[in-house]
């Protein structure tokens, strides 16, 4: 019907024809029923006209509605075509009938989700390529150093008693650094791939920290640093993966030793709270600037590139620490003042 009477004129003619037919039909009906009343006659005439006019108005409104829906559908189809071609800048009108506005809203939501996913993937890709670039750079540095010392030795320095031992020692130190870096890389990839399962056990934090302190004292003394034991309680059982936490404590104390100048003090201990203990490592070292605090747990993030290189870290220590503490459903808190020192702490469940 709409195709046959798609134009305004056609619909007008149709309404007039309908009105005339209705009028004739009602005239016949009037004759058949022998109604000879002027009031009835005029009434029937007016009724025919009114019905014809209402029919025309209805047809017009319906046609307008169809036109509008049609144009919205065309917009949606066009938008979907553009989306399938990869154009995500499309924004659909959230108008029209209830269903059409729902389609518009949902499509916009799908596009927004797609945009989010794509930007996440891009970020991941960027992090991955940055990580690879960092890894190759970090691996290359010790390899070049080792090659350099060995080449110098081959070129004759091996017979020079003044330097040969020293060069070998340095090459060995760099190979050790390479080994540490590879171990950390293996560790971090195991943690991130979820391959590493935590073995949570209850253990005595007092004895645990005392052992760590004892083991780290020689390293601190080499740099004329003092490690102070701040443990005041007797046996306190905490829940955690002892071996992984040992790694956390080694990393934190080792960092404190690296970034504290001779004569400084490192404090290790814990504070007992009602349901947990807060384990801390404090130092009187160089401190970390506020702008770096949020980023120090990122892999290979360096606050001071030159200094980090000279102290010989792998750049992965704090990333590993963060992963392990996260796996304990806890969080590493850092307080630091430039030139004053830093405090790293985390909670463990009792």
């Amino acid at each position: 019907m709409n195709r046959l009477f798609s134009s305004y004129k056609q619909r007008l003619v149709l309404a007039i024809v309908l009105g005339v037919l209705l009028y004739l039909f009602l005239g016949q009906l009037e004759n058949m029923l022998s109604l000879r009343n002027a009031l009835v006659h005029y009434g029937l005439e007016i009724a025919s006209a009114v019905i014809a006019v209402f029919f025309f108005i209805f047809e017009e409104t319906y046609a307008a509605f169809r036109r509008r829906q049609g144009s919205i559908l065309a917009t949606i189809i066009d938008a979907l075509r553009r989306i399938s071609a990869g154009d995500l800048s499309v924004q659909l009108p959230e108008a029209g009938g209830v269903e059409l506005s729902k389609i518009g809203k949902l499509t916009n939501q799908i596009v927004a989700n797609l945009k989010d996913d794509i930007s996440k993937l891009k970020k991941l890709e960027r992090v991955r390529s940055e990580f690879l670039a960092n890894v190759s750079h970090e691996l290359r540095t010790p390899i070049f150093s080792i090659q350099g010392f060995i080449e110098t030795l081959i070129d004759g320095a091996i017979d020079d008693p003044g330097v040969n031992r020293e060069f070998l020692q340095k090459a060995y130190e760099h190979s050790e650094r390479l080994n540490n870096l590879l171990n950390d890389l293996i560790e971090i990839s195991r943690i991130e791939s979820g391959e590493m399962r935590m073995s949570f056990r209850y253990f005595d934090i007092t004895e645990f920290l005392r052992t760590i302190i004892e083991e780290m004292i020689p390293k601190a003394e080499k740099k004329s640093l003092r490690i102070e034991n701040r443990i005041i309680s007797q046996e306190v059982l905490v829940l955690g993966d002892k071996e992984r936490l040992r790694q956390v404590m080694y990393n934190l104390v080792d960092n404190a030793i690296k970034y504290t100048d001779s004569g400084g003090i490192i404090e290790v201990g814990f504070v007992e709270l009602p349901d947990s203990v807060r384990v801390f490592v404090r130092d009187t070292g160089s401190g970390i600037g506020k702008e770096h605090l949020a980023r120090i747990f990122e892999r290979f993030y360096r606050v001071d590139k030159d200094r980090s290189r000279s102290v010989g870290g792998t750049g992965l220590g704090l990333a590993i620490v963060k992963h392990i503490i996260d796996a304990h459903k806890s969080k590493v808190d850092v307080k630091s003042e430039l030139g004053e020192g830093s405090e790293f702490s985390f909670l463990l469940k009792k």
Binding site: R197, S199, F200, R201, Y202, F203, L239
Partner: protein, 222 residues
């Protein structure tokens, strides 16, 4: 579920983990003492045994209280039933650790025989099974628990091989008959440790999946 009941179950879980942590450590101490012939180190095994027994009584009391006052159902009931069995298995592993520690002195003067038998090789597998079974309980990991059940055959085979080796040594030298007998007993104890770990793993599968797999009641490879 009201707060008090939740707290009771949480305390029960925490105490089971505490007991498991002690048993895990106790086993490590006794195996190392056996390998190193270190009689002094066994003192700590005996000390830990006191604590393990304390937990055994404590858990019994807690389970009685939950059963009598709370009448748990479904998953909560499975936790309590598993706790009864795990408590028993852990306490038995503690006893076996003491039994192994008691073999340290008679074998102290025969380190070569102990090392040649590579008793620690079998001990490591059994201890790892106990370690993993406790982990599977903590993480509610039925997959890991099923893997532990399959490991039991490895320990059984090791036991047979090492038994034959020790018998061979005993036949070749009468001096080795007495330490050999002690070593066979120690091997049997280690084999029992693996059995207890398997039982715990079976309990964990029951706890997590509500399936009974002991005595091959269900296909453990599923």
């Amino acid at each position: 579920m009201h707060r008090h009941f939740e707290d009771l179950l949480e305390t029960l879980r925490a105490n089971l983990i505490k007991m498991g942590s002690l048993v895990d450590e106790q086993l490590d101490l006794s195996f190392r003492a056996l390998h190193d012939g270190n009689v002094e180190a066994t003192n700590r095994v005996y000390e830990t045994e006191q604590k393990v027994n304390g937990f055994d009584n404590l858990l019994d009391k807690e389970i009685d209280e939950i059963m009598a006052l709370e009448q748990p159902v479904a998953a909560d009931l499975r936790l309590v039933l598993s706790a009864i069995k795990m408590n028993h298995e852990l306490e038995r592993i503690g006893d076996v650790a003491v039994n192994i520690a008691q073999r340290v002195e008679p074998l102290r003067d025969y380190p070569q025989l102990v090392h040649r038998t590579a008793i620690l090789e079998m001990g490591d597998v059994a201890r790892q099974m106990v370690h993993d079974s406790i982990d599977s309980f903590i993480h509610a990991d039925a997959e890991l628990a099923r893997r532990i059940c399959r490991q039991d055959d490895v320990v059984d085979e090791m036991n047979r091989q090492k038994f034959r080796y020790v018998i061979g040594e005993m036949k070749s030298s009468p001096d080795l008959i007495e330490p050999g007998a002690h070593l066979i007993v120690a091997l049997k104890h280690i084999e029992r440790v693996a059995d207890h770990a398997t039982n715990i793993a079976e309990d964990v599968v029951f706890l997590v999946d509500a399936k009974i797999i002991k005595h091959h009641a269900a296909d453990i490879g599923e």
